[in-house]
């Protein structure tokens, strides 16, 4: 748990370089967060840090209040969204994808079959459209092609939820590193696949609006 004010002089402390969003908000490093509790903590800390209340303070305190408020808002924004929260945890634990190369890498093996089928279907649909087929014909086929991909996304959401629960249980049980790292590895794989699936769906959406 972070300390935001000097215990002796009660002045707001400058932020410094290090920090982590969970500790900052006084939360354990777990993936299940009660939204109402997050909101409550966010409001309470906002009331302590906000620059509005430091207008007459020293420049150093005003600076600290701006830094602490900004960091609080950034933390709140990330922790409030489940996916961004997982992404952040992976970064924090050193399990983030290594950079844009890894994020945009080849088709994840588990998705090969769907992606292959989808690409074939998309080619055919484009041909249909180029050949002057009525919009409702190729649009119907596009909608149908979206079905299996959306099913995969739903399955992924469920996977991410159960993995999150496993992570939280591991934290609670003080599980050994090996077990925790296993969960983080899986979370990272699911997240990369999820991004890939989202790109596929965005591609279909683009075709629909073409």
């Amino acid at each position: 748990m972070d300390v935001h004010f000097c215990p002796q002089c009660t002045k707001i402390l400058s932020l410094g370089r290090h920090g982590d969003y969970f500790a900052y908000l006084g939360l354990p490093r777990k993936l299940t967060i009660d939204p109402a509790e997050l909101e409550q903590r966010f409001r309470t800390l906002s009331r302590q840090f906000h620059p509005d209340y430091f207008y007459n303070a020293t420049p150093a305190e005003r600076r600290a209040s701006l830094e602490r408020s900004s960091y609080l808002n950034d933390a709140y924004r990330v922790l409030r969204q489940p996916i961004a929260r997982i992404d952040y945890l992976l970064q924090l634990e050193g399990f983030a994808p290594k950079g844009p190369e890894e994020a945009a890498r080849q088709v994840p093996p588990s998705l090969l079959e769907e992606v292959f089928a989808l690409n074939e279907e998309l080619d055919e649909i484009r041909e249909l459209r180029a050949g002057g087929a009525p919009a409702d014909v190729w649009k119907t086929r596009l909608e149908r092609a979206r079905g299996p991909i959306e099913a995969r996304r739903a399955a992924h959401e469920a996977d991410l939820e159960s993995l999150s629960a496993r992570w939280d249980a591991a934290v609670d049980a003080g599980a050994p590193d090996a077990e925790r790292h296993g969960v983080l590895d899986e979370l990272r794989e699911r997240l990369l696949e999820r991004n890939y699936i989202n790109n596929l769906l965005a591609g279909i959406e683009k075709e629909l609006n073409a």
Partner: protein
């Protein structure tokens, strides 16, 4: 202790308010009018008029009057080229640079024109505090409101206007959020609130959650180029088409005034007549409310999509909104109320005067800042995503729209050639993919990167959006821990040096403006005395009174004092005007007493003065 105020710097009207004994109040002029029309005009002699007088001058000297300047704040000439032809004033400037507006013989930037309005509000407030017997009636600090959807350039221009007017701008806050503060005063409102703010020139929608006195904006959307002005323009064009020919600028203003009055009337009645009296032509046209609504429907419809987008960004359904609040003069139009009611499925609130509510909220915020009162807290968001230009002319987003402010974001940069010591960075605001479709905010040159092989430096650039929604940038190289210097060239704004110079200019002119104001006041007073004297001299009973009551030569002394004052009345020397006014006052004092006694006696004896 000098005073702080809240200012609503509107497209059509501006207001100033302050917190008195815990309650926000709007400061009115002597006739009880809270509004200062956002119009600035200058006469041939160089005297600047602001507000009602400037508005009157639009009808007689349109080419020397400027209105709706808010539409030009933070804009480049290229942004406003098409629209400028609708205005009677000159709009100039360099392509790619800030707009310049012709006011009489001089040219001003939009922040300078806005500063005239702010100075008028400052004077109004100072006169009010002085009249209240305050020891220090000076107003030197203010919270100024802007449309929530204003970008960084428009916010910065507003802050610059405040500085040029000699005000320390404590905070720039968003109009809909300010309105919610004013509404939240009685603590009745908790839950999810939609603030629909349709003003003279801009439209905003903000979705807020209010809980424990924290006013948290969840999402905002809008159009900074959509307001009552557009309705007026549509009606004006119709009438001008009816009239035909090539009307002069004053005729256009007469039409504009007439259609605005008809628009107001249509909020109360089912029909209104547009009445324009031009030399040699009396134009009359009956407009029904149904016809008016059919005409303006497309404009009002344009407000609905931003509402839906804000709800989607907040992750809310329409049915979850607990209350809808209306702000801005254009929400008086019944069609607007009806469509907003339909969209949200509930009757909107409008208990507070939609013209005044924003200024009241600004006053509350000013009070919070100065007193440290922690009862309420405003948490606003940045309306537009902030990013930088990357390879291929694509914008890479660093701080997403609807992020609670203050907020930060950072990006790592490196070099492309060996020993490169500077990197160019182009900062943008907007939601579109391509750089060209977004707003260019500024170009930075990062200097002082230690010479290293290409790709090795790691320069972290930190973007900070403060509680005003205004951006600042810092950078440092991580390998050497060297702080970089940043040169800012705002794309459509003023540099600090320019603002400083304008502030100094305004001091110089402020003295001239102040002198002009005093002269006008002295003339007004002189005219009052002249009129009263002439009335007495012309009165039927004067000869009888003079014979019976006046001393020898008294009448001649009055007449010569009167002639003296009339001779200096139109001069530029205020002291002489005042001196001669006092002389006439002294010369007529005895006469005034005599006349007064006679009328009192007449009243007591029940006889009319006319019959004496």
């Amino acid at each position: 202790m000098s005073k702080v105020v809240g200012i609503d710097l509107g497209t059509t009207n501006s207001l100033v308010a302050y917190v008195k004994d815990g309650v926000p109040v709007v400061i009115r002029d002597r006739s009880g009018d809270p509004l200062v029309p956002s119009v600035v005009s200058v006469d041939e002699a160089g005297t600047v008029y602001v507000g009602r007088e400037a508005q009157r001058r639009l009808l007689v000297d349109a080419g020397r009057s400027v209105y709706s300047v808010k539409r030009f704040m933070g804009k480049g000439l290229d942004d406003v080229g098409g629209e400028a032809r609708h205005f009677p004033f000159r709009v100039a400037g360099e392509s790619g640079g800030v707009v310049r507006i012709g006011l009489g013989e001089r040219e001003f930037t939009p922040p300078e024109i806005s500063a005239f309005i702010l100075r008028e509000l400052k004077h109004r407030a100072e006169a009010h505090f002085a009249a209240q017997g305050e020891v220090d009636p000076d107003v030197d600090r203010a919270v100024i409101t802007v449309p929530a959807y204003f970008n960084d350039a428009q916010r910065t221009a507003t802050r610059d206007a405040g500085r040029i007017a000699g005000l320390e701008v404590l905070r720039i806050i968003n109009e809909p959020t300010a309105a919610s503060l004013a509404y939240g005063l009685d603590k009745r409102h908790t839950g999810l609130i939609a603030v629909y703010d349709f003003g003279g020139g801009t439209f905003d929608i903000s979705i807020l959650r209010v809980e424990d006195g924290v006013f948290q904006v969840l999402a905002t959307n809008g159009d900074t180029h959509l307001g009552g002005d557009d309705i007026d323009l549509l009606l004006t064009s119709q009438v001008l088409a009816d009239l035909g020919g090539a009307p002069g600028a004053e005729a256009v203003q007469a039409v504009r005034k007439a259609v605005i009055e008809a628009k107001w009337e249509l909020s109360e009645s089912e029909a209104a007549e547009i009445r324009v009296d031009l030399p040699g032509r009396a134009y009359r046209k009956l407009v029904t409310r149904a016809g008016f609504e059919a005409l303006i429907r497309p404009i009002v419809d344009r407000t609905l999509d931003p509402c839906r987008r804000a709800l989607a960004d907040a992750g809310l359904e329409v049915s979850q909104i607990d209350e809808v609040v209306l702000v801005g003069g254009s929400t008086r139009v019944p069609l607007v109320r009806r469509l907003v009611g339909d969209l949200f499925g509930r009757a909107p609130h409008s208990e507070l005067n939609p013209d005044e509510v924003v200024a009241l909220g600004a006053a509350v915020q000013a009070d919070i800042l100065v007193t440290g009162n922690r009862e309420m807290l405003l948490l606003d968001v940045t309306p537009l995503s902030l990013g930088i230009e990357t390879m291929g002319g694509v914008m890479s987003k660093i701080i997403l729209r609807n992020s609670t402010i203050p907020a930060t974001g950072s990006e790592m940069f490196t070099t492309f050639v060996d020993k490169q010591t500077a990197v160019d960075i182009h900062v943008l605001q907007g939601e579109r993919e391509l750089v060209a479709d977004n707003r260019s905010l500024a170009r930075f040159k990062l200097r002082g990167i230690p010479p290293m092989p290409a790709g090795l430096p790691r320069v972290q650039v930190q973007f900070q959006i403060d509680a005003n929604g205004i951006l600042s940038v810092t950078a440092h190289e991580l390998r050497t821990d060297v702080e970089q210097t940043i040169e800012v060239k705002p794309s459509y704004g003023l540099t600090d040096e320019e603002v400083e110079r304008m502030l100094l200019d305004s001091f110089e002119h402020a003295e001239a403006d102040f002198a002009a104001r005093l002269l006008i006041e002295a003339r007004n007073e002189a005219e009052t005395v002249i009129q009263a004297t002439e009335k007495s001299l012309r009165a039927p009973e004067f000869d009888a009174v003079a014979r019976a009551e006046l001393a020898a030569g008294e009448r001649e002394r009055i007449e010569s004092a009167l002639a003296d004052l009339k001779a200096v009345l139109n001069g530029a020397d205020r002291d002489i005007v005042q001196e001669k006014t006092q002389a006439l006052n002294a010369a007529t004092q005895h006469l005034a007493e005599v006349m007064m006694n006679r009328s009192v006696k007449a009243a007591l004896s029940g006889k009319s003065i006319d019959r004496l």
